[in-house]
């Protein structure tokens, strides 16, 4: 799963498979981090717009 796992091999299969997986997870993580930080900022400044 990680490059430091003993069964990890730097081949095309691992790079494509885990590249896609970590890419998707990173987008979700970054998206949620952005939303949470911006919500905290908006709460402190009460500058958010209603939807």
């Amino acid at each position: 799963m990680f490059p430091f796992s003993f069964e990890w091999v730097w081949d095309m299969g691992h790079m494509i498979f885990f590249g896609g997986f970590w890419y998707a997870i990173s987008i979700l993580g970054a998206g949620m981090t952005f939303c949470i930080l911006k919500a905290a900022y908006d709460t402190m400044n009460e500058s958010g717009e209603s939807h």
Partner: protein, 418 residues
């Protein structure tokens, strides 16, 4: 008692009535939970799986709920990426249905693997050459997407929304939902496809094996296509059931007609591809492996040509035609028949691609191997249905799931029930 939690302006049944309803469904849920613990503590000997049936009722249920849950990713794709704004009236419910389907799929897998404490092995010690590993990765990640898509709706609860942080968080998540929806579509394309790919690459099973494009057999594309086609049918069906039980109109006809029309065209194009695939398999692929079509549909007490005709014609061609023609699509009875047939059709397809594959004799000394699930397998398969009913009841009661509910029910019906 709980009126402070109910969406403003919405009418719901009394709390005792609601509690009694939940208690009745919970009894079924507990039956499933009991069977689940039997499987976990006593092992898979509680099932009727054997050397023929390594995949059985659970894997069919798994593939079926994932297929019908495809309405969430496809509706999300249409709403957030292709900007079909009309679908905003049903997207919340599509996400909830998808959330129920995918959490059910993960629960079924947790029972099926026998040793759930080792479930994380599939991630940590991943076999990158396995399509099922790809399914496990995409399924888990897509469940995370559905959870993220569900959160804003939860935060819009009347009381939660009063908390400024939750209010802003819901607003910000709506703002970037297109990014999550795009990620969900990417993940869904691969896991829906890989579930079909598993069948298509089984060279030892002439009933399933298919040619394809590069590493992907045609079943890869057919599974993704069918989930996008029939998933909205299930969304419309559950919406109709919810409307009937609540005695309210929850989604406007305009939205229903649009989603039914899109589903109809997807079903029609899918079924043409499916017919071509079936003809090529029956006339080229299977004979090249030494089998004739009749071998797969005769000499047994259950699997006849009826299943092929039911899946493709009755539950494929018929709903497709009903939903693409305006006059039949806008007829409530015919539309309901079409979405029921469509939902049955995709479940039947998954049954054929999981269980008929196992039943067909392959070796010359083999015979047909039919299988009847144990009560524990049936109870754990019914469990997600009870869970789904409870979650829909709770979300409908406490969350603003249907944005048009107030507008469509301005004149209260004489009898109100939930």
């Amino acid at each position: 008692m709980d009126s402070a939690l109910i969406p403003e302006g919405a009418k719901r049944c009394s709390f005792p009535k609601f509690t009694i309803g939940i208690a009745i469904v919970s009894a079924v849920l507990l039956w499933g939970v009991y069977a689940m613990f039997l499987c976990w503590f006593k092992g898979l000997n509680q099932t009727n799986m054997n050397d023929y049936y390594g995949f059985a009722l659970w894997i069919w249920a798994d593939l079926a709920v994932i297929a019908v849950g495809g309405g969430a990713f496809f509706t999300g794709l249409l709403k957030y990426i292709l900007k079909v704004d009309e679908l905003k009236n049903i997207i919340n419910f599509a996400v909830i249905i998808g959330f129920i389907c995918y959490s059910s799929a993960l629960l079924i897998l947790a029972i099926d693997i026998g040793q759930p404490l080792r479930g994380w092995f599939i991630f940590w010690h991943a076999n990158i050459h396995s399509m099922l590993t790809e399914v496990a990765f995409c399924l888990s990640a897509y469940f995370a997407v559905l959870t993220i898509e569900f959160i804003p709706n939860i935060l819009e609860n009347r009381q939660a929304n009063k908390v400024p942080f939750f209010h802003h968080l819901a607003h910000n998540m709506h703002g970037v939902m297109a990014v999550f929806a795009a990620t969900g579509a990417f993940l869904s394309f691969f896991h829906q496809g890989s579930l079909g790919g598993v069948a298509g690459v089984m060279f030892g099973r002439p009933f399933a094996v298919r040619e394809g494009l590069l590493i992907w057999p045609w079943t890869f594309f057919l599974f993704t296509w069918s989930a996008a086609a029939f998933g909205p049918c299930f969304t419309l069906l559950v919406t109709k059931i919810t409307e009937t039980i609540t005695g309210k109109k929850l989604v406007s006809d305009k939205t229903v007609f649009l989603l039914a029309k899109i589903s109809g065209w997807m079903i029609s194009t899918y079924i043409i591809a499916k017919i071509i695939d079936t003809i090529y398999w029956a006339t080229v692929t299977a004979p090249s492996l030494g089998f004739s079509l009749s071998h797969f549909y005769t000499n047994n007490s259950f699997y006849g040509y009826w299943i092929l005709i039911t899946e493709i014609v009755l539950c494929g061609v018929v709903p497709g035609l009903i939903l693409i023609m305006k006059s039949t699509r806008e007829n409530p009875t015919l539309r309901l028949i079409a979405i029921i047939l469509g939902t049955i059709g995709v479940c039947l397809n998954r049954w054929v691609m999981v269980l008929q594959i196992m039943a067909v004799p392959v070796m010359s000394f083999d015979t047909w191997a039919l299988y009847i699930p144990s009560w524990q397998e049936i109870a754990t398969t019914v469990l997600p249905v009870a869970y789904g009913i409870i979650l829909i009841a709770i979300t409908y009661r406490y969350l603003p799931v249907f944005p048009q509910e107030k507008e469509l029910n301005s004149v209260e019906p004489a009898v109100e029930a939930e």
